[in-house]
């Protein structure tokens, strides 16, 4: 079933979940996201998400259980189990206020880092599947090779990808040590709940699992390395993570030996998607996308750090 097929049913479902007693109401629906990997609809205080068609039901149930178990870190679902709707798995969430896309300078970097540090210190549930970060990076590269391999910016990105260790390309399992990870951190993954004055929480458990915790720091790290995120913002994020006892990087030494591979992988992922999207829209790359591809180009001159761990 495609995302367009599930949307009307999802709208009806979220209305029913928001108002179990009422036959009709005047609240408008809002489609918060409509992508291949998920459709999200809000009605009043309730949000329903139709997960990607290939979502594993057992894995989603385990990931949902993690969100339920750690409501001080992750937004807790309204219902403990996924529901089925037109062949798709549906989960229900309270609505939270997202980060304002028009004011990313007000983004809660410290809170995000503190939440990640807390998450990385929690014991993963038995049977929890791997964090899906490397799988997503591999999918982005597959999309590049499948749709835009002839783009002039593709070779440095593919070269940087091939230089990464196999675990970062999702070809072999991630090596120890591992931790409970979010798997896809960016500013769209934070909401404030309750809406007015509530605490920041992480959302979107689809990629959550057991993995290399540096991966969760690697997107901000990549933005910083590409020259996009100001050094003071990166320092604030990293400081907050270390102050909160985050285990991914050493407390008082250069974090880059540990961050290097993950930050390279996220840079490659971002560059691959940028080229694929620019090609699909038949537009040139913008300067920000160009900065990410330039970083991939520079990677060829410096081999990746061998360490995915640091001495304890």
């Amino acid at each position: 079933m495609t995302t367009t097929d599930v949307l009307p049913a999802l709208r009806a479902t979220v209305r029913g979940a928001a108002h179990p007693q009422a036959a009709r109401c005047s609240h408008p629906d809002a489609v918060l996201a409509e992508r291949e990997d998920g459709t999200v609809v809000r009605h009043a205080d309730t949000v329903a998400k139709a997960h990607a068609p290939d979502t594993d039901p057992a894995h989603l149930a385990l990931r949902l259980a993690v969100a339920t178990a750690h409501p001080d870190i992750l937004l807790a679902p309204l219902r403990p189990d996924p529901a089925a709707l037109h062949g798709r798995l549906i989960t229900f969430w309270p609505y939270g206020t997202p980060v304002d896309p028009e004011a990313p300078e007000d983004a809660p970097w410290e809170e995000a880092a503190t939440l990640l540090a807390r998450l990385h210190r929690r014991r993963p549930h038995p049977g929890l599947p791997p964090m899906r970060g490397p799988v997503k990076a591999a999918r982005a590269v597959a999309r590049l090779t499948g749709t835009a391999v002839d783009h002039p910016a593709a070779p440095p990105v593919l070269g940087a990808w091939r230089a990464l260790p196999a675990w970062a390309r999702a070809e072999v399992p991630m090596s120890a040590p591992t931790a409970l990870c979010h798997g896809d951190l960016h500013l769209g993954q934070l909401v404030r709940h309750p809406v007015s004055g509530g605490a920041w929480r992480l959302i979107d458990v689809d990629d959550l699992g057991v993995g290399v915790p540096a991966w969760d720091l690697a997107r901000p790290a990549a933005w910083y390395a590409c020259g996009l995120l100001p050094p003071d913002v990166w320092a604030c994020f990293l400081d907050a993570y270390q102050r909160a006892g985050g285990p991914a990087v050493p407390a008082d030494a250069d974090p880059w030996p540990v961050l290097d591979v993950s930050a390279r992988a996220l840079t490659v992922q971002t560059a691959a998607l940028a080229i694929a999207k620019a090609t699909a829209a038949d537009r040139p790359l913008d300067d920000v996308e160009g900065a990410v591809i330039d970083a991939c180009d520079r990677m060829s001159t410096v081999p990746p750090e061998l360490a995915s761990d640091f001495p304890k």
Binding site: D37, V99, P101, E102, P104, E105, A107, K136, D184, H186, L187, G188, W223, Y224, A225, C226, G227, L228, L229, P230, P231, V233, W234, A235, L238, D239, D252, A253, D254, P255, W256, P257, L259, D260, A263, R264, T270, L273, D286, D287, V288, E289, A291, D294, A295, R298, M299, T301, V302, A307
Partner: protein, 100 residues
């Protein structure tokens, strides 16, 4: 100050060569020179009549610590362009901040 090799992370040991302090890695045997040390060695060498070594390019180094350190493949120092709030790349980067 104890240094770690930026290449292989083994510890580096300090040697004194003709009055110039040189850090050499105990693992890969790579050598780290502080600013001006290569020139000092070159001067010494030319005093002894050997051929002069050309001055090195200003290569970036991993700083030994601190949060402003960056990977060797990172954007050139001072070249970050878009993170400044209100910068002309802000829109594209703003979008990137929110997408998978």
């Amino acid at each position: 100050m104890h240094m770690q090799c930026p290449k292989c992370h083994a510890s580096m040991h300090t040697y004194n060569r003709n009055g110039v302090q040189i850090e050499q890695c105990s693992g890969c045997r790579g050598i780290f020179l502080d600013y001006g040390e290569l020139e000092a060695l070159t001067r010494l060498e030319s005093q002894w009549g050997g051929p002069a070594v050309p001055p090195p390019p200003a290569a970036p180094q991993y700083p030994a610590g601190g949060h402003h350190s960056a990977p060797a493949w990172g954007a050139p120092h001072g070249g970050h362009h878009g993170g400044h709030h209100g910068g002309h790349h802000n829109r594209g980067f703003g979008h990137m901040l929110f997408s998978s």
